[in-house]
Symmetry: C2
Subunit: 253 residues, 2 copies
DNA sequence: ATCATAGTCGTCTGCTTGACGATAAACACC
DNA sequence: GGTGTTTATCGTCAAGCAGACGACTATGAT
């Protein structure tokens, strides 16, 4: 930051907002936090915050992700997944009126995480929760057990919608659906991820043939599990392949 | 812009940078401008500039596009193409050290344009030109007729590379390749677009079958042309379809 | 023992693709 | 006018993949 005439450019605030998606109970869910301050006080919003002066955008997103969920973002260039989530830049939102206080440009990021025990929000358990994206995006807003239905704050409904659309299309041609799964998972669990994200039913037999027949998508661990009931299923880990060729085909569209 | 404590957030400069692509003489080319100021004075860079205080990001990108090329960006939600270019947000680059002067966050946009007579750069004809992306991205830099070879300024090589990759993958599953063509074009011209962007040779017969068989991709205008030599070819306009299903398949990959 | 549940292996049919032969309609040149 | 060149367009054939669906397997529940 060398000295430079600050009047030569208009100052902006830059934030990162996070669309954190997971699959819970057969539904695609997003992390939402309740705003404690004005504007939109008491409304649900996406987690996010200001980018610090010497911080990269992706670092800021990873920091927010840890603060909100405890998840470590794994480097997208490394095949390691560990207990971390997938994190990528989504898009940037900079409408001059998107924040009534000042000019804010928000660089939204998309995170995909396996099902987690519970969100944490700086200790305040009631101010962060997983909510089905359908409910968050429903025009009436979001209500649970009689709670007041309110739309998301700012332009966060648009951001969430864009993030969901990105996730829906990206699991078609990449192995990203495995980011929704624990380190070891069965073909059925992976299929339920696709079904939840796309909102469709898939044929278990054709799905099994497809994913086990795509080289590099899944590697068997040798173990089996019966946690879903029924016949024990083979356990797999995500393989090295990131791009699926040919892609998974989404019905209809 | 209500009054608000300006010390509550760190100020950033926000710019838009443009990756403007076109196909000239069987090669994918990008618009490059020569920097007149420090830093990177005299080096080639992507066109761009500061976002104005009350301007949307996409408006800023469209304004820069007009200033640099005279092209009107057409609304991506409207099927009209007219004489305009396709314009979409690409990604945002915010490394704290990407500009040595100050903290700059740049929202890069991708524009796809038909072959144009010549770029204009505020009247200075020598400070803007179309250059093959291969040359701009070559590690040695860009040299033409003995001109000094220099890499692009800032992180613009990365931005250009990301833009080219986006274009390459997006013409697979969308009708965006038509954005590189004039309003009326032949199947052969469209095929040469694919060949230039992907850098491969495609079978004219299979390509013809594919694009004419995809509903909504092309609509015949009734006219024919012989501007490429050989047998006269039917003229087409871009159809309403934006997503190709099934997609065009890129050889190898 | 029987049923319900979930996983896994096959089969068949239709569609799409890639390779490539054949024909058509213009121009260039002799 | 004939001949070759160029580009466009139509057809054919085999291989591969996807969707529909039958059959069998291995567990737990009743």
């Amino acid at each position: 930051m060398s000295p430079y005439d600050p009047s030569a450019f208009p100052p902006f605030a830059v934030t990162v907002d996070l669309v954190v998606l997971t699959v819970r109970r057969h539904a695609l869910c997003a992390l939402a936090v309740r705003r404690g301050e004005s504007p939109f006080q008491g409304r649900w919003a996406l987690p996010g915050g200001f980018v610090r002066p010497d911080e990269d955008l992706s670092s800021a997103a990873a920091r927010e992700l840890i603060e909100e969920t405890g998840l470590c973002a794994h480097d997208p260039d490394s095949p390691v997944q560990a207990n971390g989530a997938h994190l990528e830049q989504l898009a940037t939102y900079g409408d001059p009126k998107r924040d009534p206080r000042m000019r804010v440009v928000s660089v939204a990021h998309l995170a995909l995480a396996p099902d987690l025990p519970a969100p944490r929000a700086g200790g305040d358990a009631n101010s962060a929760r997983w909510a089905p994206v359908d409910a968050l995006l429903a025009q009436g807003g979001y209500g649970r057990e009689g709670e007041q239905a309110t739309p998301l704050a700012f332009d966060h409904a648009q951001i969430l919608s864009d993030g969901v659309e990105r996730a829906r299309s990206k699991i078609e041609y990449s192995s990203l659906a495995t980011a929704f799964c624990p380190p070891e998972f069965t073909v059925g669990e992976l299929r339920r991820v696709y079904e939840a994200v796309w909102g469709v039913a898939l044929d278990p037999r054709n799905f099994h043939r497809k994913v086990t027949g795509t080289p590099g998508f899944l590697v068997p661990t040798g173990g089996t599990t019966t946690r879903q009931g029924g016949r024990p299923a083979q356990l797999f880990r995500a393989g090295g392949a990131t791009l699926l060729n040919p892609p998974m085909l989404r019905p209809d569209v």
